[in-house]
Symmetry: C2
């Protein structure tokens, strides 16, 4: 393998979940120095730690202040970054830890889901120039006032990709507890296969659709800055994992690269609304202001100029969304509000769908053949999503995977696990 200048590696919570694993990560980092001249390592909090700290906050207050919660949970990455640095030094390697505010990773003030405004690479470059492996606490930043912020769940990936972009790294390796990106969740779908390559665009759709292997925002940022990503297992020695990069010819020939299932969706319906211009703004304005992301929206015209508006949100946002929707429903004279706490969103994703017609039709027919009712549909250039009853989510995923991702047809081929 050609030697590179700079690699950014990221290790998730499970990978640093115990002292033993932290030592193993240190050894993997040192071994990686054979492949590059300089290394930056981004770490998450030890597995379970963020949840433990959040539970403490919730035991003290029903509605803990977001600013304080961020200072609280940011301590988790502070601990794992220091411990990994100590482990690297125990192996005789110069190493230095840096926290979000020490770079700084400058963010907005949206505590709990802050957005990165800029990363100053100077401190990292300086520590690298002094011969250090630099360990950066992921997931955290600092706003202009000096308050600690966090970037949202899974944002350790985001820190790694943003750092890789700021440092113009040759490669960003995401180490996790699976050995790559799969055509479907292997826990739910026995015929799921690891992909050798996937395009940013497909990966972005899959991450947005519930594939947990990479964070959605991280993939978007990698795409925008052209950061080459590799998703690898921190628990197995071999395997190249999955490369995420710009699409190439081979990728376009694949009709469907993956099938995803997202169980954490709730569906709300405002029934019997007078269908007038500006209705969507009346309904979705307050929801957007509350920071709730609406996923799919459908509107069914009904009798007498009245209509039903149905939409989905992440399940954790359901209580807040219901509050807003009930208030709006009363204002606009709707007949009622209904909701389902859990629905399943099943999606197929593939660059090949751009040029191949008929995927949607085959998909709908396959589900109908299994007696699965489609409640909502959303499409993009390279994906089709359907919402179905939560009970049929896994079945729908397997049916679609077996139809669109035949075991032998994928150019990535099968890799023994």
């Amino acid at each position: 393998m050609t030697s590179m200048d700079l690699i950014v590696q990221k290790y998730g919570g499970t990978s640093v979940g115990s002292l033993e694993r932290i030592r193993a990560v240190a050894e993997r980092v040192v071994a990686s120095l054979a492949r590059c001249r300089r290394m930056v390592v981004v770490v998450s909090a030890m597995a379970g730690e963020t949840n433990r700290l959040l539970a403490l906050a919730r035991q003290v207050s029903e509605a803990p202040e977001a600013r304080e919660v961020d200072a609280l949970v940011a301590s988790g990455e502070q601990v794992s970054a220091a411990l990994l640095t100590i482990a690297l030094r125990a192996l005789g390697r110069p190493a230095l830890s840096l926290l979000g505010h020490q770079l700084p990773v400058l963010t907005d003030s949206n505590h709990g889901r802050a957005r990165i405004r800029s990363i100053d690479p100077e401190r990292v470059l300086q520590a690298l120039a002094q011969g250090n492996i630099v360990v950066v606490a992921g997931y955290q930043g600092v706003n202009a006032a000096g308050d600690i912020t966090t970037l949202g769940r899974g944002a350790g990936d985001l820190t790694a990709v943003a750092l890789a972009a700021a440092l113009k790294a040759d490669l960003c390796e995401i180490y996790t507890d699976v050995d790559g990106v799969y055509t479907a969740d292997p826990n739910l779908c026995a015929s799921a296969r690891k992909l050798d390559r996937i395009s940013y665009e497909e990966m972005l759709e899959m991450a947005g659709l519930g594939a947990k292997v990479l964070q959605f925002r991280a993939v978007g940022l990698a795409w925008r800055y052209g950061v080459p990503l590799a998703v690898r297992s921190s628990f197995s020695a071999g395997g190249q994992g999955t490369w995420v990069g710009h699409e190439d010819k081979a990728m376009e020939e694949v009709l469907v690269s993956g099938v995803t299932l997202d169980h954490n969706q709730s569906k709300l319906t405002i029934a019997g609304v007078a269908d007038r211009p500006g209705l969507a703004a009346r309904i979705f304005g307050p929801i957007a202001e509350a920071g709730i992301v609406v996923d799919m929206i459908i509107q069914n015209a009904g009798a007498e100029g009245r209509t039903d508006v149905t939409f989905t949100v992440a399940r954790e946002d359901l209580p807040a969304a219901l509050d807003k929707v009930k208030a709006v429903a009363a204002e606009i004279g709707a007949q009622g509000v209904r909701y389902e706490e859990q629905v399943a969103k099943v999606s197929v994703v593939g660059l090949g769908m751009r040029t191949h017609a008929g995927v949607a039709a085959r998909m709908f027919k396959a589900l109908a053949d299994e007696g699965i009712n489609i409640e909502m549909i959303a499409t993009s250039e390279i994906k089709i999503s359907v919402v179905v009853n939560a009970r049929y989510g896994e079945l729908a995923m397997r049916v679609l995977h077996d139809m669109f991702v035949p075991a032998a047809a994928h150019p990535g081929g099968r890799e023994d696990r």
Copy 2:
């Protein structure tokens, strides 16, 4: 009670040792607002947390890097400060947490035992002006390079006093698990009494001599800046605790304010050294360079121009001190090195000793009457310390306490606990 402008309160690890106790501290803080207009609260890490984090570091490395250990353990106060702030807000009080680097508490780079260079009160004053109770993470600071530092064990007191000085607070209240400063450790000496008042000078001697109720450096800083201190229990409702301030007439009339016992002392002897000018520098230079504080020193002239040099160090410094001493002993041709891992230092402290002669003589006689051999003696203007065999430490303390601190004679009087 006259209402004050600004009080700084400090709560130790036991006081914030559980979520229940953190809630109790929040209630005490809110109740204290009846006594003052503005409040700053300094917190330690939850009891046991600092040790837990240190143990993690030691499991990863035999010699964890001091910079990383500081970043690691500073997370402990970060957690308790955030949780107390959340608890205060749950009581409906505006509150804000600030970490060492957010003020900043600027220190030197002596990780693990950094000294405060300056505290910028601006951020605290601003948060107070916005109506907040300000919660500050104790024990931690930041050096000029932006690295997190810690101020040494017990330095939560130091943060509180330094902040009180920087903010020109009316009062600094140290809440702890005992209800004040005692004439001797009440666990070891049944006749020990709580003092109502004690001078900075006496308190400094007692803290330096092993009384754990207040940190030595904190008392010194309070004295220097004239910060009025109160030591109180965070577990009992009533009681004025002990006031620490400038001496007054009543204080000077007390012969002995307290008797202390320090079991964490080791004694080393370099035997048979040729007694030449510069000997002390040869011996104690390398020890000082290693950051080891030497407490008592005696030199016994012997036969043929040879002498024994004996000194004490904190027990935790014994291994390092032995290393240095053995090297020096070889260089200077000493006949040998002896040591006792544990000796007891017993001290009597009191402003009255300035004007009353004969305390030392009475002290030595009392110990002799009990058959306790005095191995070393050190005196200052207001204290006399003796080193005795570790077995006799507690007996010596009780004998001296009963002799010098009669139950009825103390102007502070007895306060029912």
